[in-house]
């Protein structure tokens, strides 16, 4: 049996200019309510001795984990991995709202739809990608920092972007054993990847809280 595709976003932080366009592009495309989001840019709070400080902006969303805790804990299969595309998705029709997947997501990048009372998340705009378009956040990205595609396809945008990057510039979010697929590119020229320091909330500037119910 052929292995599934490994579709995900790759984000070149050398190119991310902290403009937040991906957030609003995502919300407009997917009609996401106020207080909810599938995609969010956080700033790594400037660190170092002033004025020799470093910072970068870190767009966050579902990391399309290879060993996805959300699908493991979901009692109904509402959170599932799509066999054709390999995407981790939510079938909202099956969601019973137990929120275990929200607890199990290591990054807190799942969203609670208050109106429908179900869990949602980044779908990689699969309604667009299925039609050959790019996800809204990728299309509109002002720094051209976001890439979508299959890591197993050497001709995909993500593979090409990663191939062009120096290996020491390729990073992943801290891994709690889930194997995040999304990669981040940050070259030493532009900043120092904070690695596990990212799990310390004081190292991040994160605005606008949301809540479930």
């Amino acid at each position: 049996m052929p292995s599934m595709a490994r579709n995900c976003l790759v984000i070149n932080l050398d190119r991310c200019i902290g403009c937040y366009a991906c957030e609003v592009a995502c919300k407009m495309e997917n009609d996401i309510a106020l207080g909810e989001r599938w995609n969010k840019v956080v700033q790594v709070e400037p660190f170092g001795e002033f004025p020799d400080v470093s910072t970068y902006w870190l767009p966050t969303m579902c990391q399309q984990c290879e060993d996805s805790p959300c699908t493991h804990v979901c009692p109904t299969g509402a959170s599932y991995r799509d066999e054709a595309t390999g995407m981790v998705l939510v079938n909202k029709e099956k969601c019973i709202g137990c929120k275990y997947c929200m607890m199990a997501c290591p990054y807190g990048v799942r969203s609670w739809n208050k109106e429908q009372r179900v869990v949602e998340k980044c779908t990689l705009c699969n309604h667009l990608t299925a039609a050959g378009e790019k996800p809204a956040c990728v299309k509109n990205c002002c720094g051209k920092a976001r890439f979508y595609g299959d890591l197993d396809d050497p001709n995909s945008d993500v593979s090409k972007e990663l191939a062009a990057a120096s290996p020491d510039a390729i990073h992943h979010l801290p891994d709690a054993g889930n194997g995040p697929l999304s990669a981040y590119i940050l070259s030493p020229r532009f900043g120092e990847w904070r690695a596990d320091d990212l799990t310390q909330t004081t190292n991040l500037y994160v605005t606008t809280e949301g809540s479930v119910d």
Binding site: G18, A21, L34, W57, N140, C142, G143, F190
Partner: protein, 928 residues
């Protein structure tokens, strides 16, 4: 004169706006190289309309998805040469702005006291006629000076509409809160010195950066070093400017960013200089000194193509003409020739037989001693060591040196862009001079990869399609009469304002307050929220409450409408309007996607007012509808929107495509399209001063200055001070009568410590700066739910050291207080600013408009309650700039957020879009 048949070349030579127009010389031909279908069907229901944004002045290409007459989706246009598919928060918010419940939907008339927020809906006919009645009454009683018109850069302006109207009206005053505080100083002064273009990336003339990736690699020299001086491309024209700088930087371009704030571009710079707000000119003088002392300047360029070797009359400050000393003609200058060790006439172009001394003091045949312009500059900046600048600017001298060297290494394929920051302090003109001088010294003018390029730039506000009558034609019968132009408030003192036909805001306020020299009675305003955007807003409010009639034209209710207006006129969002815009070598089109309620493009408001005045007998207004008088170039005023659109089509066709028969339909059928190839576009700038002059092909074209060289020693400043008023244009033609030098503007930049200085101010110890955010353009989008969700209140950035000193923590609500007022913000403790430097951006709170005290909407979190525009705080000499950045404040902890402001995401639910039918707008119910 016949204004209908003016050639482009004639156009170039005529205007004070040559900065924008000059490079248009030569045929642009009819290269309809790249023709895309105007409207591509996506499905039977949804149309994709190619249009251009106007959420900021970059006008990025957008695709609007329209279904059943409603705009349902926006995305960046991937075929646009500048934004290449990118779309920012502001642009994408267009739908929420269009269908916002806060739209001004119908003409409204105030029924209660001014500011009571009680209104009745009236018809367009009633509104136009009642306003025109008052205008006509004052016109007859007190003349044209009774009227003040204003606009602003935010919210889909036809920027020169007010000035166009005043040219018909026959006098009066026009202002906008940018102008002297945003772009005018750079737009005017840099062009005066380099005879080429200003360096504003946001406003459009920096075209070179867009060529890599479009121009074939073999023809392209990417910029090697880009100095962004108070420039934050990631946060202004994001889809175009942020994208393109990122492209270049990632491809190896080195960058220096000078900014008090750690912006995304500062964070990625090779050197970030976190300069103390308001001290930029001190740093520029040190850069100049370092470059001169270390002989880093471009020897050939400075000798042959600048006025630096020219000898200067020490008494007048003017460069000598050869005729002054009996050495030659009056269009020749004087140099000290090394070979003959004597003064010699320097003709145009450079005479290679001469070997001029660049520095030194020499005794002239008439016995006077004279220095070269370069020697004067050298002496002028000699005290500005790196250490001195470091001390004043709160920087490290080694970092400054490193920054200069990175810049110098890239020259001449390099350059400096100057952003808005320096336009917002009293040293505005001088900063623009300093910026221009540095690039001239380094020969970074019209070279491949350099920032200063000789290309047409129709992105900038001074070249809107809708223009004041006679702007480029001094003899046009509808041009504002000279005596009225010279009576514009503050123009005599600050003649640089003439470049934009503008008046000086504090002087306008003083006239309203005191009646001196005359009292404006009527204020017609087209922009979002003056009370949030104008410095020292309290003074502005108090003055405008005393006028006899205030009319506000805008798309959304703001504090200007609620607190100050007597009539409110519904105006069109960018998705409702028709317009044309240059995008690099492509001409793009803004197509109306829908028209809601009774909203109308502002150009029709002014047209309808002109028509109503014409009915009452106003002769100039009558003439403005006469094609024989108005001429085809400016077009008549328009009775319907179709007439206006056809004018736009005509203008684009005649000016860009050499077609005299275009209307909107013809423009629409092929737009957007290239009007020349990118190769032509690129090549027309490089070393264009060496191209044959069009009028006299035996001579090189030179630069657009008096001496046809770059004029880093800008003695034209002296002439500007004296002659700017002569014909109301601010032209640089030499004057016959030169007033004492002490009255003049300085040919060289000089440093002024901010009037309120943290070095000496113990009561208000911190220095406040402002700066762009990616969510808003000026006062706009504070009532669109997604933008407010992302940035619900203004952040007050404070360095941890300073926060500790004051005793505040992240998330604390604060009071910020200056000598003019106090307002609130919310603390973000961050190393993104230096100790003692505070950053907060302009803000206002539409959610308070319907409260018991609507004035709180512009007061509770508005940094402009603190800024300066009062006479005690000195203005810039040339432009009258008042100080918005670099004022001193103190900070205390507040009990909490201002009462009634919205901070939680769900709070903004009432502002979610309410999709509305395409009614055809006000054009469907009224016509002049």
């Amino acid at each position: 004169m016949a204004t209908t048949d003016i050639s482009r070349r004639g156009f170039v030579k005529l205007g004070a706006f040559a900065a924008a127009a000059a490079a248009m010389s030569g045929s642009v031909g009819s290269n309809l190289v790249h023709v895309e279908p105007a409207v591509a069907a996506e499905s039977s229901e949804t149309q994709k309309v190619r249009t251009i944004c106007r959420a900021c002045l970059n006008n990025c290409g957008m695709i609007a998805h329209v279904r059943d007459g409603k705009v349902v989706k926006l995305e960046g246009d991937p075929d646009d040469p500048m934004n290449k598919g990118a779309a920012c928060v502001k642009g994408l918010a267009g739908i929420q702005a269009l269908y916002n419940p806060n739209r001004i939907k119908y003409p409204m008339k105030r029924v209660g006291e001014r500011g009571s927020n009680e209104w009745e809906r009236i018809s367009w006919e009633q509104a136009i006629n009642e306003i025109a009645d008052v205008m006509w009454e004052y016109y007859q009683k007190e003349g044209p000076k009774s009227l003040v018109c204003s606009t602003g850069g935010g919210g889909n302006p036809q920027f020169f509409s007010p000035a166009r109207f005043l040219s018909v009206w026959g006098g009066g005053n026009f202002f906008e809160p940018g102008c002297a505080q945003c772009y005018l100083p750079r737009n005017h002064m840099e062009f005066c010195l380099n005879g080429t273009a200003d360096t504003s990336l946001a406003d459009g003339p920096v075209t070179e950066v867009y060529l890599p990736g479009i121009l074939p690699d073999s023809l392209c020299t990417p910029t090697k070093t880009y100095v962004m001086w108070g420039v934050g491309p990631s946060y202004h024209g994001i889809g175009s400017t942020g994208r393109v700088v990122t492209d270049l930087r990632n491809n190896g371009m080195k960058t220096v960013v000078i900014d008090p704030r750690l912006t995304p571009d500062a964070a990625r710079a090779d050197v970030w200089l976190a300069i103390r707000p308001g001290t930029d000119v001190a740093l520029m003088l040190a850069w100049m000194n370092y470059i001169i002392e270390n002989e880093l300047w471009d020897k050939d360029f400075c000798r042959e193509w600048t006025n630096l070797p020219f000898l200067v009359n020490e008494a007048t400050g003017l460069t000598y003409r050869a005729s002054d000393l009996g050495l030659g003609a009056d269009d020749e200058y004087v140099v000290w020739d090394k070979a003959t060790n004597g003064a010699k006439a320097m003709p145009y172009p450079f005479d290679p037989a001469l070997d001029p001394q660049m520095f030194g003091t020499y005794e002239l045949p008439n016995g006077e001693k004279a220095r070269t312009a370069f020697q004067i500059m050298k002496d002028h900046v000699a005290e500005w060591t790196l250490d001195k600048a470091a001390d004043i600017c709160w920087l490290n001298a080694d970092d400054i040196e490193k920054a200069i060297n990175i810049y110098v290494e890239g020259c001449p394929n390099a350059g400096i862009s100057l952003g808005v920051a320096t336009d917002q302090a009293r040293n505005s003109a001088q900063a623009a001079q300093g910026d221009a001088i540095l690039d001239i010294l380094m020969g970074c003018i019209r070279q491949p990869g350099s920032i200063v390029q000789d290309r047409p730039c129709y992105v900038e506000p001074c070249n809107y399609v809708v223009q004041p009558f006679g702007l480029h034609h001094p003899d046009h019968p509808l041009r504002m009469p000279e005596e009225e132009a010279n009576a514009r408030l503050g123009y005599t003192e600050h003649k640089g304002l003439g470049h934009w036909l503008a008046s000086h805001i504090p002087t306008v306020l003083k006239a309203i307050e005191t009646g001196e020299p005359y009292r404006p009675r009527i204020w017609i305003e087209r922009s979002g929220n003056k009370l949030a955007m104008i410095g020292n807003a309290t003074r502005f409010y108090n003055a405008m409450m005393t006028t006899d009639l205030n009319v506000h034209m805008y798309m959304h209710w703001t504090t200007t409408s609620v607190c100050l207006a007597d009539y409110v006129l519904p105006t069109a969002e960018w998705l409702e309007t028709a317009y044309a815009q240059d995008r690099l070598n492509t001409y793009a089109i803004r197509r109306p996607c829908t028209q809601l309620y009774e909203c109308v493009d502002e150009c029709m408001h002014w047209s309808w007012l002109a028509a109503a005045l014409a009915e009452r007998g106003h002769q100039r207004a009558i003439d403005s509808f006469n094609p024989d008088i108005a001429g085809k170039f400016y077009g008549t005023y328009w009775r319907t929107y179709e007439e206006y659109k056809d004018y736009v089509g005509y203008f684009v066709g005649s000016f860009y495509y050499d077609r005299d028969d275009w209307n909107w339909e013809k423009f629409d059928a092929q737009a957007p399209s290239e009007y020349q190839t990118i190769e032509e576009y690129a090549a027309k700038s490089y070393n264009s001063h060496l191209f044959p002059d069009e009028d006299n092909p035996s001579l090189p074209a030179g630069f657009h200055t008096t001496s046809r060289r770059c004029e880093p020693y800008f003695d034209g400043n002296i002439l500007l001070g004296n002659t700017g008023a002569v014909d109301g244009t601010g032209t640089m033609e030499p004057a016959s009568d030169v007033y004492p030098k002490s009255d003049n503007y300085n040919p060289l930049p000089y440093y002024l410590e901010p009037f309120e200085s943290p070095l000496t101010d113990t009561e208000y110890p911190y220095v406040l700066t402002q700066g762009r955010l990616p969510f808003f353009h000026h006062g706009t989008l504070r009532n669109t739910p997604y933008t407010r969700e992302m940035y619900p209140y203004p952040e007050t950035w404070i360095n941890p050291e300073t926060a500790k000193e004051i005793g505040i923590e992240n998330g604390d609500w604060l009071w910020l207080e200056s000598r003019r007022g106090k307002t609130q913000g919310r603390a973000r403790i961050t190393k993104s600013v230096a100790p003692k430097v505070i950053y907060q951006e302009r803000y206002w709170n539409p959610e308070l408009l319907d409260s018991d005290d609507p004035n709180r909407a512009w007061q509770v979190m508005n940094i402009n309650l603190l800024t300066q525009n009062n006479d005690e705080c000195p203005f810039n000499d040339v432009y009258g700039t008042y100080t918005l950045r670099g004022i001193t404040i103190k900070i205390t902890k507040a009990d909490g957020a201002p009462e009634g402001v919205w901070t939680e995401p769900e709070d903004f639910t009432p502002w979610l879009p309410e999709p509305s039918e395409n009614t055809g707008g006000g054009n469907a119910v009224y016509g002049a």
